[in-house]
């Protein structure tokens, strides 16, 4: 469905962020993209959705294809119309709009205006909390509610592929579970394919059908969640487990050096 072939992204004409990045998202699947800070995960998503422009980024090489057609270089609005919708990192709800107005903003590109009210009800069925707050200003919702709103707003565009950037960011563990359960539910019930960028590798691997690990602008490892969970490096660096399968203890880390506290 989505194929990234060897793409390169350069910021400000000089900084090479993605260096020959390739991945695929098959129809109806959840694909996780893992990696440390600064690996280029968010850049990958923005390259797909066409949102690099305002950040002075540019895809300089490679191809991005969605359902067999090249989509890179297209206007972000056109990419949304073709069915790719990005839920940006940090939720980014429209703070001064009400919950319902946020949902309507998500439906901006829809041609079938008549079905929008029914879809709003659909989002409320998925997130009953949002219905209780439909008239409230979105900026005053809690973090979890804002994340629900961000996902609900994405559903309003009826996307075929949803790009989720760190949906667990800054949420309590229980809420993270709820959000991931909902993501799975959306994927199953509506058949929406999902490309999920996460720091929380454990939670992401639990719901993903396939996963990629990214470092320094390229894919270094890929496989089914099970394969990755068995990989020694992934266990050590992403799941925080040692060889024996125990939780890593920092008490045993020998190379801890005392920092000069007066410097800070």
């Amino acid at each position: 469905m989505l194929v990234l072939n060897n793409i390169e992204v350069i910021y400000n004409d000089v900084i090479l962020v993605l260096k020959g990045m390739s991945l695929q998202v098959p129809e109806g699947q959840i694909v996780a993209l893992l990696g440390a800070n600064g690996a280029g995960k968010s850049t990958t998503l923005k390259a797909i959705s066409g949102l690099l422009g305002p950040e002075d980024g540019e895809v300089t090489d490679g191809t991005i294809e969605f359902q067999g057609e090249r989509i890179h270089g297209l206007d972000p609005a056109e990419i949304v119309r073709r069915g790719v919708f990005q839920v940006m990192e940090g939720r980014r709800v429209f703070e001064h709009l009400t919950v319902e107005e946020n949902l309507r903003a998500g439906a901006y590109t829809r041609r079938d205006r008549g079905n929008v009210p029914e879809d709003i009800r659909g989002v409320y069925r998925l997130f009953p909390r949002l219905e209780e707050r439909r008239g409230q200003t979105a900026g005053y919702l809690s973090g979890g509610e804002q994340q629900m709103l961000a996902i609900g707003r994405a559903l309003m565009a009826r996307p075929r592929l949803m790009l989720l950037d760190e949906p667990s960011l800054g949420l309590a563990p229980l809420l993270v579970q709820e959000i991931f359960r909902t993501i799975r539910q959306i994927n199953r019930e509506q058949g929406t394919a999902i490309l999920l960028v996460e720091q929380n590798a454990r939670a992401a691997l639990r719901i993903a059908d396939y996963a990629y690990v990214m470092e320094n602008g390229r894919i270094v490892l890929e496989g089914t969640p099970q394969e990755l969970q068995e990989n020694a490096d992934v266990r050590e660096f992403y799941l925080g487990l040692t060889q024996v399968g125990q939780r890593k203890s920092y008490r045993e880390v020998k190379h801890y050096r005392r920092r000069k506290r007066w410097l800070s």
């Binding site: 609005a77 949304v80 940006m88 980014r92 001064h96 309507r104 903003a105 901006y108 590109t109 565009a157």
Partner: protein, 290 residues
């Protein structure tokens, strides 16, 4: 009492026109963070274009007014294409400086086409005298107030209910997130400038009907600054209330204290208000969740 009513009506009239001009100003500021220094000139151009269609081309006034509004829409789109689009990605301050340039260009164009001498405007809005509580008031002023209220009500409905209105507020909130919804920023900017030009044209028409067409319309249009700063740069109700307050203050000080002082008093009040509420009376406070 007569004097008070006359002053109040004339203050409300000017205030209503300021509110119309301020509405466009706030729209542009809200959706693009650009402070539009050419707002007064938009009123000027609107007034002269209406003058052209109604007085010089001799069209019936409803036709002339509609044509003038169409020209305003074209002007708004043209400004987006020629002035704003090449500046995408440049610092906002550059765009603001360019609006100052735009102001000079528009004023010069008007002078080049219609000359510097003020002219009388064919009054298509009735100027009969009306008695209110015993005071004599010219009917065109009442028309100006009523029309402004109607326009402002229409626009606030547009922002609450229409998809484009919601999209405009979304862009004002978070441009990149709005882009990710598939909202075209260029289209929204063009829309904001078109609406600004349309409201300015209506304001210019109303002013011209009362004081004739001339360069001083642009000067009156500049009063949007105290109005919007008072109301809060990014608040539409604030623009309306700010405009009315400034209009009333000017009329009352001019009438009771003396001409000339009416230029100063609004600014004194403005300073006092800003000391208490730095973001204006209705300006958006930044929402912070703690």
């Amino acid at each position: 009492m007569d004097l008070f009513i006359q002053l109040t009506v004339s203050g409300l009239t000017n205030g209503a026109v300021y509110a119309l001009a301020a509405l466009g100003f706030v729209l542009i500021y809200k959706s693009s963070d650009v402070i539009n220094f050419a707002q007064g000139e938009l009123l000027l151009v609107g007034a002269y274009v209406t003058f052209f269609f109604v007085a010089q081309a001799g069209l019936a006034w409803p036709v002339g007014v509609l044509l003038a509004l169409a020209v305003a829409v074209v002007l708004g789109v043209a400004v987006e294409r020629t002035v704003l689009r090449p500046l995408i990605g440049e610092p906002i301050i550059s765009v603001i400086m360019v609006t100052i340039g735009l102001a000079s260009v528009l004023r010069a164009l008007v002078t080049a086409i219609w000359g510097p001498v003020p002219r009388s405007f064919p009054a298509f809005i009735p100027r009969d005298e009306v008695l209110i509580l015993g005071a004599v008031v010219s009917a065109d002023r009442l028309w100006a107030i009523a029309l402004s209220i109607l326009m402002l009500a229409l626009f606030s409905l547009f922002f609450r209910l229409s998809n484009e209105g919601i999209a405009m507020r979304a862009v004002a909130d978070d441009q990149q997130a709005a882009m990710s919804m598939g909202i075209s920023i260029r289209r929204i900017f063009a829309l904001a400038w078109s609406i600004a030009a349309v409201t300015a044209t209506i304001g210019g028409m109303l002013l011209a009907n009362i004081i004739g067409v001339g360069g001083n319309i642009a000067g009156l249009g500049l009063r949007v600054f105290p109005a919007v700063i008072l109301g809060g740069l990014d608040s539409i109700p604030g623009a309306v209330i700010g405009g009315v307050v400034i209009g009333l203050l000017e009329a009352w000080t001019g009438g009771y204290i003396g001409q000339g002082l009416n230029q100063i008093v609004p600014f004194i009040v403005l300073t006092l208000v800003l000391m208490v509420r730095p973001y204006g009376l209705f300006g958006q406070e930044i929402i912070e969740r703690v």
